[in-house]
């Protein structure tokens, strides 16, 4: 079952055409990783999906709720962890406060941070912040989760705990689209890997096909396979 369909998306920033006609479909339960060098348009594509960027041309079909996790977490610094989680459910979905708290505590348990419920973001490590950010996105009960380089701002020793949570989500059949540089995650967890270069999708296939011994020279260079 299709969860999001993108047709012929174009996006330019000034003179620079960042997306040059992207077609793309994600099905329910799929975990898709998007790889490519910086400037290839992968983050822009992700941000077009939930309308943080307005595509200049093309169509996006999606009538599900989309959650998003950012590279820089973007937690609300003036709110405690639990307040970060319950804010949108209460304000947007009009869920009663007590019910929102109960649901959010379940999510905090899932990301292993129940003991941090009353902490403020500035008191957390990067890995903890990102796990809170994931829980905050899940609090809105999205059907599709977008991850924009979720581990790129983290110290190496903190990356594992975030990937662990994402892996758990994948096992629960959450539909996920992940822009990442973590090739091991892409290989182990994703159903499809998309390689983008210069504003177009160059390859879209199962991880073993895209990552193990691809034929395209640019992709081989990107993956460092020809040394």
């Amino acid at each position: 079952m299709e969860i999001i369909r993108i047709e012929n998306i174009h996006k330019r920033f000034g003179d620079l055409e960042v997306l040059k006609g992207i077609d793309f479909v994600a099905n329910k339960g799929e975990v898709i990783t998007i790889i490519g060098s910086s400037g290839s348009g992968k983050s822009t594509l992700l941000r077009c999906m939930n309308h943080l960027e307005k595509a200049d041309q093309g169509r996006i079909h999606c009538d599900c709720r989309i959650g998003m996790v950012f590279q820089n977490f973007n937690l609300f610094p003036h709110k405690s962890v639990i307040e970060n989680l319950i804010e949108a459910p209460i304000i947007v979905k009009k869920i009663p406060r007590q019910q929102a708290i109960e649901f959010s505590m379940g999510l905090l348990a899932k990301v292993g941070l129940t003991d941090k419920r009353d902490a403020y973001p500035c008191q957390l490590s990067g890995g903890q912040k990102q796990r809170v950010a994931i829980a905050r996105a899940l609090a809105m009960e999205p059907q599709l989760m977008l991850f924009d380089e979720p581990t790129s701002a983290l110290d190496p020793q903190l990356i594992g705990e975030v990937l662990q949570v994402m892996k758990k989500l994948a096992e629960e059949h959450m539909t996920m689209i992940v822009v990442t540089h973590e090739m091991n995650f892409a290989r182990e967890v994703s159903d499809r890997v998309i390689y983008m270069d210069n504003g177009v999708i160059v390859v879209d296939g199962p991880p073993e096909e895209v990552l193990v011994d691809p034929k395209i020279p640019e992709l081989r260079t990107f993956l460092n396979l020809d040394r």
Partner: protein, 215 residues
């Protein structure tokens, strides 16, 4: 200094404190919401509104408050608008301070990083929800120090009302000095202003402490 003389004049000058505080409270209560509103207007993409508000802040920050007071009281009747002195002071002070607050709030709102807007939008919050729940509370922390400055300035600016013969602290002190040929009344006035600014300083110190719970 003659203590019995000072006690005899203090009641009259304290009456002026009531008027001073009235002007103060009316100005704060009206100009802060106006400032927020105008700041949001300045940040909205509708160009004519931006120009209008830029002209407004330029005029009110770019001319002396005393001149604005004279204009409101002596000038506006030419256009058929007549105010009692106190009302002229209210209107002038509110518009003048709202102009400063507009700029302070605008800068405060702009200091909040774009990621906060994006996170709010990604969570489904609309513009008003984002402003009210996410942006303005954070901007408030940022603007407290400059707001504290303005709050102290306002205490002293209320003395300009003396120029419209409004019986506030300075006016009553001046009347006393002229009547008794003795300058003690000015000292009394100075002490009253110091007491008022002391309270304001404490209030803002408390507010900054209260907002200090996060970085």
């Amino acid at each position: 200094m003659d203590v019995s003389y000072v006690t005899s004049i203090i009641g009259f000058i304290l009456q002026g404190t009531g008027i001073t505080m009235k002007v103060y409270v009316v100005t704060i209560v009206c100009s802060i919401p106006l400032g927020i509103l105008f700041a949001l207007g300045k940040l909205c993409p509708f160009r004519p509104l931006q120009y209008l508000l830029a002209a407004y802040t330029w005029v009110f920050r770019g001319t002396p408050l005393l001149l604005q007071l004279f204009f409101a009281y002596y000038g506006l009747p030419v256009f058929g608008i007549e105010f009692q002195p106190l009302m002229a002071a209210y209107v002038t002070f509110v518009l003048n301070y709202a102009a400063y607050f507009t700029e302070i709030f605008r800068a405060g709102i702009q200091s909040i990083e774009v990621g906060q807007y994006e996170a709010s939008k990604a969570l489904g919050m609309n513009y008003l929800q984002t402003m009210r729940r996410i942006i303005l509370p954070q901007a408030t922390k940022v603007i407290l120090p400059p707001m504290g400055n303005e709050a102290i300035n306002l205490v002293k600016d209320t003395a300009l009302c003396a120029a419209l013969s409004i019986p506030e602290i300075l006016r009553n002190a001046k009347v006393t000095v002229a009547r008794d040929f003795s300058i003690e009344a000015y000292f009394v006035a100075a002490v009253l202003y110091l007491l008022l600014t002391f309270v304001i300083i404490r209030v803002f110190r408390e507010l900054e402490k209260r907002y200090g719970y996060y970085n």
